[in-house]
Amino acid sequence: MVVYLRSGGKLRDRLKPDVDQYTRKFEIGGTPTLREILVAMDIPFALVAFGFSQGKVRRLDYRPSEGEVVTLQPPVAGG
Amino acid sequence: MRIKVDKSRCTGCKLCQQICTIEHYHEINPKKAAIHIGAEFPAPGVFTPMLCVQCGACARACPEIAIERTGNDGAFVIDPSKCTNCGVCIETCPIGVMYSHADAPTPIKCDLCLKCTEVCNTGALTVVDTPRATSR
């Protein structure tokens, strides 16, 4: 399946965007979880706080659907 | 067209006020903006952007005929060469969106320049098409 991942900041460098400046198109077999996708992309999942798609927070055990666009949000300090 | 206000989306950031005064007065001075942001706090906790809806009541009331539909897409605009700053338009405005400021030569109202809609990031201020009214 194909999934689109978006991120900014340092996480973006690890994502290696190829669709636009934030977005990477990634092909992977089966219907993996976000965690499994991150492992396949060699992104340490400690650097991802959660996914975000269709206006909702997605935990790392979320399984994206075909063609879904998921933002990867890194952890950061609040105030 | 007109500016549609969705108050449920307003966050009180005042970007609209800043760009308004930059555009019209070449200044950063929210108190001179043609849009005010009402704030009802602590309860119910709601912001309300308030700006001219181009109803024309001010134009009809102006004793100097200084307000005419000469603005962007038929917006009512004050002609500073005719305006005496008498303030009748401010009293007449049915929804209280004709503003004033000590440094402004005329009362202040929205002229549909639409800059505020370009900077608003929440959808509180958007541009919608409407058929032009045939009043006046």
């Binding site: 991120s7 900014g8 900041g9 340092k10 973006r12 460098d13 690890r14 934030y22 060699d42 400690a46 650097l47 706080a49 959660f50 975000f52 206006g55 927070v57 935990r59 933002t71 990867l72 949000q73 890194p74 952890p75 950061v76 300090a77 609040g78 105030g79 | 449920s8 966050t11 009180g12 950031c13 005042k14 970007l15 800043q18 760009i19 005064t21 930059i22 007065y25 070449h26 200044e27 950063i28 001075n29 929210p30 108190k31 001179k32 009402g38 706090f41 602590p42 309860a43 119910p44 906790g45 709601v46 912001f47 400021h101 000590a102 440094d103 370009e118 900077v119 608003c120 990031n121 929440t122």
Partner: protein, 638 residues
């Protein structure tokens, strides 16, 4: 001068005299604003033995060059003084709309001296500055008073208030504004209260003088359009900082029950999603911010009146929530409201109540101390009763009103071992046993344990959580770049979240002032301030510096009992290693004292002379100080 309000105000509260002078351009350029203005003024003018709650301390309000400027997120205003918690330099800033209003009124700094004989509030209306009677307001809650003053003076006034806690001199009292923004840390509210200043009301109707407005407008307009579609924009707009509760629990840095462990049972009940589902009323923004991270909420608890508040933020959820054993977002929101209205920092407040809860758990304090009440984990009624005792400094509340360290010193019985604080100011919302760079950050911070100075959590992940190696240079870099946002000042979340670079923030200064000021120059200002406040701290508290850069025993030696970080601790040896590395990289000696070489390089010869007179100057470093102090984190090669 462009970019600034133009006038500095000095008020003698004893005599009522109000003096104005033009803001010197050299002063503005050298110190920029907020934290910088505060550091310079406190260092130069407050006697080293001044009581923080006495007449010789100063209370300073200062926006800065980026405030009210149409530069991204120019909302901030700084407050400063000598802190009653740490006995050192304090600055704490808030967003909202007060800072911009001061700039539009034409002011860059207001310095309050001495103590007013009666409660007053500061009234500023463009050129008019008055100290007005505030007896009728004394005793009111912070939020309640703001509502009242908006009615009394008008909606277009920006108001900041202290609550009863600030009036009573509780050491971690805060200042509240815009129904929920705070200058929370360092006890700035206590100093404001010690001077009998109940509130500040400002209206400014003038415009900000700008050197190149078309340039500035285009600069910011382009950033607005670019960041609208940034991947992080939507989650931040929707959830704000509360969204990190899940990550912190999943990665073992969330404080649970006074940092007894680092994954909180029931954290799902106090997550960002729960906030959005259950208590959120509206999204709320600071001046000039289009990310609107503020979450205005309503807590509903049966038997209690509805409580409106801005929050709870991640920090409040961590400290009033996890650290006090709570599992219901309504309870955390209500705790937030209590702190805000009483005028207490939710971070220190949550930390202290959690500490007291552990004391109760261990039988060190009992129902007899608590006026017949208990202090059970997660119990909002117990939390409320005890918080009110602290705010009133009543009974044992008096002991805790001086902060966790002071309370532990008074209680004895080994309580200092589980008091999570550094230099007398309470840890913010991160347990550091698996995040040694964060522990180093907390313990070397000039204002005590606050992550605004350095947030190194992802640096720990990138560099390796189980090693102390390589942490110090990164912490130093963060201690320069993060407090730079407290100096400009502007919100650091655009840099942190939306890829707006420090260079772009510095560029805005050029359009505003006409100064060709690079980011390097700004960073140099930040490093200078860091060393100045270090010198100030040593002059007030004695030395050597190393004696003060101390970590809580729980973080060093008590292994986390369960969860993702089970078994972790930093270890004393690792901490000492990091401190040695830190001092060497700062150009300080092994005792943690700044050397003459680094101080003079930064233009602080007078500070070097002062330290030398007191025997606190760092010994010269053989081979000289590092050419560059601090290093930006380089992510591991992929």
């Amino acid at each position: 001068m462009y970019g600034y309000g133009g006038t500095i105000v000095r008020i003698n509260l004893e005599t009522g005299e109000i003096g104005r002078s033009p803001t010197p351009e050299t002063f503005a350029r050298e110190w920029l604003g907020a934290r910088g203005f505060v550091a310079k003024t406190i260092y130069d003018e407050v006697p080293r033995d001044a009581d923080p709650l006495g007449p010789e301390n100063l209370f300073i309000i200062a926006p800065g060059v980026l405030t009210g400027s149409f530069a991204p997120c120019g909302s901030k205003v700084g407050f400063g003084c000598v802190s009653p918690l740490t006995n050192g330099h304090a600055d704490s800033n808030m967003g909202g709309h007060l800072g911009p209003e001061l700039k539009f009124a034409g002011y860059d700094m207001i310095v309050f001296e001495r103590i007013s004989p009666k409660p007053v509030y500061l009234f500023v209306d463009d050129d008019t500055i008055e100290l007005r009677p505030a007896e009728q307001y004394w005793g009111m809650g912070s939020l309640d008073l703001e509502a009242r003053m908006k009615k009394d003076l008008g909606e277009d006034f920006q108001i900041a208030t202290i609550g009863p806690a600030g009036e009573n001199g509780v050491a971690f009292a805060c200042i509240t504004h815009d129904f929920g923004r705070q200058a929370g840390r360092c006890g700035v509210g206590a100093v404001m209260g010690s001077k009998k200043i109940k509130a500040i009301a400002v209206r400014g109707t003038r415009s900000l003088p700008v050197h190149d407005l078309p340039g500035l407008t285009k600069h910011t307009y382009d950033i607005i359009q670019r960041t609208k579609t940034h991947p992080n924009m939507e989650p931040w707009q929707k959830y704000g900082t509360a969204l990190f509760v899940s990550w912190a629990n999943e990665h073992g840095c969330f404080p649970s029950r006074n940092f007894q462990t680092t994954v909180h049972e029931g954290w799902e009940g106090i997550s960002g999603e729960k906030l959005a589902e259950e208590v959120l009323v509206t999204h709320k923004a600071c001046f000039g911010c289009w990310m609107n991270c503020g979450k205005y909420s309503r807590a509903r608890i049966p038997g209690k009146p509805d409580a409106y508040l801005e929050g709870p933020e991640y920090e409040t959820i961590a400290l009033c929530g996890g650290s006090c054993g709570m599992t219901d977002i309504h309870h955390v929101a209500y705790a937030n409201y209590l702190c805000d209205n009483l005028g207490l920092d939710t971070m220190s407040g949550g930390n202290i109540v959690g500490f007291a809860m552990e004391c109760f758990q261990r039988g060190i304090i009992t129902q007899k101390d608590l006026e017949g009440h208990e202090l059970r984990w997660g119990n909002i009624d117990d939390f409320e009763h005890f918080l009110r005792m602290i705010a009133a400094r009543r009974g044992i509340g008096e002991t805790f009103s001086h902060g966790t360290r002071a309370a532990a010193q008074k209680l004895g019985r080994g309580t200092i071992e589980f008091a999570e604080q550094a230099k007398g100011m309470e840890f913010s919302g991160y347990d550091t046993r698996w995040y040694s760079a964060q522990l180093l950050s907390y313990c070397t911070s000039d204002i005590g344990a606050h992550h605004n100075r350095s947030w190194a959590i992802t640096a720990d992940i990138e560099l390796g959580q189980d090693t102390p190696v390589g942490k110090a240079p990164v912490v130093i870099y963060l201690q320069h770049i993060r407090p730079l946002f407290d100096t400009w000042p502007c919100c650091r979340l655009f840099w942190g979240e939306l890829d707006v670079t420090p260079e772009e923030h510095a560029e805005a200064i050029k359009y505003l002032t006409g100064w060709a000021m690079t980011i390097e120059e700004s960073m140099r200002v930040s490093e200078k301030i860091w060393n100045l406040t270090r010198a100030h701290y040593l002059e007030r508290n004695g030395g050597p510096g190393r004696k003060h850069d101390v970590a809580p025993l729980r973080q060093l030696e008590e292994r986390i009992p369960n969860g993702p970080a089970e078994g972790r601790k930093v270890g004393t040896e690792n901490f000492e290693y990091m401190l040695n590395d830190y001092y060497a990289n700062r150009g300080w000696d092994r005792d943690g004292n700044p050397t003459r070489e680094v101080l003079e390089l930064l233009g602080l010869k007078h500070a070097a002379d002062n330290l030398e007179k007191r025997g606190l100057l760092g010994k010269p470093i053989p081979g000289g100080i590092p050419k560059v102090r601090g290093q930006k984190l380089k992510p591991k090669a992929m």
